[in-house]
């Protein structure tokens, strides 16, 4: 078991040591040591992206009582290849009035944060491409770059709809960045550090069954934090009910109206990569990262959790209609933000009662108090935000 679990770590150290024995200069081996995990990330996650597009179309199909793609290869497994080829072959049209620099640079600047973000996620036991003590903050800082890239895309293509779409998606990403950060604050409070490896090791306990109970999602504040984080994450990456920016029914395709061919594929890639990264971070923060019973290697646990979260995202996409702009904004500012603020308060209470009352009583009391506080705020917020009750429709003209 240990061998499979550490397979990548051993492989890397083996390669580095053989290079050293070959007598390469030490800075080159250091460089190669850094490049290896980077290439792994750049290969594995776009492959997951390809698999994800196929999975999404299959699940959405089955949800809507039809088969998914089944023509290209067995069960349509070559569909991503077909999509990719189609994207590459499509002619790349740049509008004449477009601002060439912005138009061209935007898709690149959208993909860069989506890929850089993976550098901080702990994929398995001591398998972290880059481990700094500001990893979580770095994650949010880098993912806020795509806001600007969206603006460049919308603004560069000189098209009313893309500008509107860009403005909407910027407003959406900014207003959902707040609940996203605040949902992650409780985890940092409890773990006491921004280093993601420490967050994961704080959730790990020994024993076959033990390693489940210590995940943050099983604490009241963790559960609410996970929901807020997951929903805000979906909104941040313009997915499913929040994909207003590229709502075909409203403004054609939002900021990527004027893009075709490979540039459009880049936007597509960036959206899915950031969805994978967001569910990866949710797994690390609340679902115990690569922790799991010893049956499977640690990195498989991490990928399993990502796949489960992505399937839930796809499931939600197949279920809920798209939100209007005001509902979208209202939901973030009037519901998610106050909820995550109260969540931080509840974590403080939870931590304090656990610390002050020793033993199991303290744990139960903490659980109870935090749960009650959060439940009350949830119901209260829902009552406030409940829109006008849907009354029976009255037809004024009918009775003329």
């Amino acid at each position: 078991m240990e061998a499979i679990d550490q397979i990548f770590v051993n492989a890397k150290s083996f390669i580095v040591s053989t290079l050293e024995s070959l007598g390469l200069p030490d800075w080159l081996t250091l460089l190669i040591g850094m490049v290896l995990p980077a290439t792994l990330v750049v290969i594995v996650f776009p492959a997951t992206f390809a698999f994800l597009t196929w999975l999404e179309r299959k699940i959405l199909g089955r949800i809507q009582n039809r088969y998914g793609p089944n023509r290209t290869g067995p069960w349509g497994i070559l569909q991503p290849v077909a999509d990719g080829l189609k994207m590459l072959i499509k002619e790349d049209i740049v509008p004449r009035a477009a601002d060439k620099l912005l138009h061209g640079l935007a898709p690149i600047l959208v993909v860069v944060p989506a890929v850089v973000v993976f550098a901080f996620l702990p994929f398995g036991r001591n398998m972290v491409p880059a481990d700094t003590d500001v990893a979580l903050l770095f994650f949010f800082a880098v993912s806020s770059i795509s806001t600007l890239a969206l603006f460049m895309a919308g603004w560069g293509s000189r098209n009313k709809y893309s500008r509107l779409g860009a403005m909407r998606s910027i407003a959406q990403m900014i207003s959902y960045e707040l609940p996203l950060l605040l949902a992650a604050v409780p985890v940092v409070m409890i773990v006491g550090s921004l280093r993601l490896t420490e967050v994961v090791s704080a959730q790990a306990t020994e024993g076959f069954f033990g390693s489940f109970t210590n995940w943050f999602v099983f604490t009241p504040w963790g559960f609410v934090g996970f929901l807020a984080f997951f929903v805000a994450g979906m909104a941040e990456t313009n997915r499913s009910p929040f994909d207003l920016a590229e709502g075909e029914s409203e403004i054609i395709a939002g900021f990527h109206t004027e893009y075709s061919g490979f540039k459009f594929a880049l936007f597509f890639l960036a959206e899915y990569l950031s969805a994978i990264a967001m569910s990866g971070l949710a797994a690390v923060l609340f679902l115990g990262g690569w922790n799991g019973p010893e049956v499977l290697p640690s990195w498989l646990w991490f990928f399993g959790k990502i796949m489960v979260l992505l399937t839930i995202m796809i499931w939600i996409r197949g279920t809920f209609p798209r939100l209007r702009v005001d509902q979208l904004m209202g939901f973030s500012w009037k519901f998610l933000l106050p909820l995550s603020l109260v969540n931080i308060f509840a974590t403080g209470v939870w931590f304090w009662t656990r610390a002050s009352i020793p033993g199991f009583a303290g744990k139960a009391a903490a659980f109870g108090i935090a749960a009650v506080v959060l439940l009350v705020t949830y119901v209260f917020l829902a009552r406030i935000n409940a829109g006008p009750a849907v009354q029976k429709r009255t037809y004024r003209y009918a009775d003329l």
Partner: protein
């Protein structure tokens, strides 16, 4: 020329050239984007000084928030300079004068730094190690700097509310919509009762 010095030179040139771009570029959006590049450059400089926290906060606050503020400001005031956003600089005389003072100030500063006798400036080995960990900053913020921390949060709220009040559209009282007690249904078309 160790790896580190090369890195520093690259970062310095990127930052300074993009800062120049931000100031001199005609097209407004291009100027803004080179400003963002200079923010990245200075964040890189912070990293080279091993102050990761400030570098990350720099990216988060400047690139994530302030640059977007500028973007919205440019979008909301587009018509002023026409679409191409080309700017006529100040009249010839104003520009030269302004440029001259800036160059003089720059030259003075640089000369002062180079001629400073103090060994601190020139001895590269003085760079200390350690310090600047997030935990340390957090502790300091919460213990010895708690008052400025609270005052800063007050300041931010005041700025937030002030900015919204200033920038809000004045709602002309006359044009307020009729009392919305009964749902404002359109009068029946054509059917004269």
């Amino acid at each position: 020329m160790t790896l580190e010095q090369i890195g520093f030179l690259v970062l310095a040139t990127v930052t300074l050239s993009s800062a120049l771009g931000a100031v001199l570029l005609k097209n407004l959006t291009h100027a803004l984007l080179s400003l963002v590049l200079s923010f990245f450059g200075s964040a890189g400089l912070f990293f080279s000084l091993h102050a990761e926290f400030i570098g990350v906060v720099q990216i988060l606050v400047y690139v994530g928030a302030i640059a977007v503020l500028f973007v919205f400001a440019i979008v909301l005031t587009r018509e002023a300079q026409g679409d191409a956003g080309t700017l006529r600089h100040l009249g010839g005389r104003g520009k030269i004068l302004g440029g001259l003072t800036a160059v003089v100030v720059g030259a003075l500063l640089v000369r002062m730094i180079l001629l400073a006798p103090h060994k601190l400036l020139t001895d590269a080995a003085r760079a200390q190690e350690g310090g600047g960990t997030v935990g340390e900053i957090g502790m300091a913020l919460m213990t010895s700097y708690i008052v400025p921390f609270e005052v800063a949060s007050l300041l931010l709220t005041a700025a937030l509310v002030g900015a919204i009040v200033i920038a809000l559209n004045e709602v002309k009282p006359a044009a307020s919509t009729p009392a919305a007690s009964s749902p404002p249904l359109a009068p029946p078309i054509g059917r004269v009762r």
